[in-house]
Each structure stands twice: as structure tokens, then as C-alpha cells.
């Protein structure tokens, strides 16, 4: 299946969903006014990918900012990954946060407590 690569903008993150490598990356800022419009194709892609995923899928979330409108969409993505995990696929979610960014760490922990997939919290040094 095709991969998705999208350049970031001041309001939307870089996206690299590589089906061949089983590597998913969201990086940058996610503060669009209409998050559903941006995330729907990604959620749909993940749904299709989950039918024949790589044995191991690694998802890197490297967001500097995200708005509350994106937060539900992120959860939608994680729920798809949770389903893949339930179906016996190996899923790892790496949640990156900048040094001293407790809010971002806490946001990752919120998802971790809702989604039954291993999250790895990774602090980035400046």
C-alpha cells in the first residue's frame, strides 16, 4: 500500500506514514482550526494499513504543540493502533517531549492511561 508524506505547516505537523517500514511519524505543531479535516485521511490510512501491517509498527510522536481539537484525533489514531495490538501485532508508541515540558509529558501519560499499548516517554535535550 502507499505511504503518506506531508510537509509540515505552521499549523499542521510533518507526517511520514511509511507502510513498508512500519514507521509512523508526527512531528511539529498540530494546531489546525479544523483538525478532523487534517486527521481523517490519516485515520483512514491507518485503518487500511491495519489490515496488513508490518510485524512491528513504531509510531513516533514528536509534537511541539497540539491543540485540544487535535487531541481527540490523536486518540483516534491511538485507538487504531490499540486494535492492531489486540490483533497480535507489535506496536510501540514513542512519545517525545522537550526537557522541562511537563505539560507535554503529562499529555502523553493521559493517552498512556487510556490506550492499552506500550508508550515510551522520551525526553529530548535542547
Amino acid at each position: 500500500m502507499d505511504s503518506i508524506f506531508i510537509e509540515g505547516t505552521p499549523k499542521t505537523p510533518n507526517i511520514s506514514f511509511d507502510s513498508g517500514k512500519g514507521a509512523l511519524l508526527l512531528k511539529g505543531r498540530s494546531i489546525p482550526e479544523n483538525s478532523i479535516e487534517f486527521y481523517k485521511p490519516l485515520v483512514d490510512w491507518l485503518e487500511a494499513y491495519s489490515n496488513s501491517p508490518q510485524p512491528k509498527t513504531v509510531c513516533d510522536i514528536q509534537l511541539e504543540y497540539f491543540n485540544t481539537s487535535s487531541s481527540k484525533c490523536l486518540l483516534d489514531l491511538f485507538k487504531k493502533m490499540e486494535n492492531m495490538s489486540k490483533n497480535g501485532n507489535e506496536i510501540i508508541i514513542n512519545w517525545y517531549y522537550e526537557e522541562d515540558d511537563e505539560d507535554m509529558l503529562e499529555a502523553g501519560e493521559d493517552y498512556q492511561s487510556i490506550i492499552n499499548v506500550p508508550f515510551k516517554m522520551i525526553e529530548m535535550q535542547d
Binding site: 505552521p10 499549523k11 494546531i31 482550526e33 479544523n34 483538525s35 478532523i36 486527521y39 504543540y65 491543540n67 485540544t68 481539537s69 487535535s70 487531541s71 481527540k72 484525533c73 486518540l75 522537550e98 522541562d100 515540558d101 511537563e102 505539560d103 507535554m104 503529562e106 493521559d110 492511561s113 487510556i114 535542547d126
Partner: protein, 200 residues
Amino acid sequence: MHNATDKSVMTEEKDSAMNIYDLYHRMESNKVVLSFKGDVTSELMSSILQIIEQRMDSLNETPRLRKKVYNVLVECLQNLYHHIDEVPVASEKKGFDRSAIFMISLSNNGYSITTGNYILTSRKKSFRDRLDRINSLEPTDLKELYKEVLSSDSRSDKGGGGLGMIDIARKTGKKLNYDFTPLNDEYSFFSLNINVEDNN
């Protein structure tokens, strides 16, 4: 040739010249960084965010404060943006427009963000109840409420689903300071003041 009408025009002009100084002075003494009144568009929000980011950068604010201010600013502005979508056009007939007011100023320990917008009085009670509930919660309960709303299926067509105010309260660690000014049977003016401080 001067007649009474010309004179009153001149006085008016002089008044507005004085008023703008008055406004300037008030903004100066309140340490206003940026203030706007009008229709909140996507482009406007981008500009405001860029200006405030640059300003915080030039003031060498800590990364922690910068992030909090930026996050809270995004939620405040997007609240205004989405709200404007919801105000019926019919309101213009009553002499109101679809505009909102926004102001960000320096405070003792950070930034103060104030917003104001029209709201249908019929929506006031449920909105007030929601804000009061958020204000009644301790940080741990606020975290639980956030997760509850996050994982619930309810959401607006723009994706928000009522997380904005909870998020602002969590990130600032403060109560939401709000007020409703009744205008008539149909409309009230909602104002919100948020203080973001570098209290670590």
C-alpha cells in the same frame, strides 16, 4: 465660513484625537502587547501567534512560560473563532456584529489574556455551569475530567468537544475568571481573563 454643524464636526475630530491618546495611554500603562477587535479569522490567528512568539522570544521568556502562553493563546483564539461560526447572522439586525475582542498584556509574573464575545443568553446557563464545574475541581480531578471528555464520543464538528476550557484550567493551574454582561433578552457579552504565570 463656519456654522454650527462644522463646529460640531471639528469638536468630534478633536475628541477622537484625544480619545486615541487616552486609549494609547491606557494600553501603555496596562502593558498591552497586542489588542484586537474584529472578526477572528484563521489568518489573523496565525499573525497573532507569530507576533506573540517573537515578542516572548525577544523578552527571553523561559521555554516553560512560552509554551504555556502559546498553548493557552491557541485555545482562547480558537474558542473565539469557533464561537463566531455559531452566532446567527440574524444578530446583525439587532445592531451587533460578529466580532470579538482579544487582548494580551504583560503581568507581574507572566501574561494576561482577555477575550470577549457575544453569546446567546439561552446558552449562558449551560456554559456557566460547565465553567463553574471546571473551577470547582482540584488538579487531579481536572485531569480525570479531561480524560473523560477526551475519551467520550461527543465532539463538535470541528473536533474540539469541550476540552478547551479544561485544558486552559489545567495548564494555568488557575480558576477561569469569567463574566457575563447581559445586553438584552437574547444576547450577553462573555468575557474571560486568563493569567499564565511562570510559577515553578
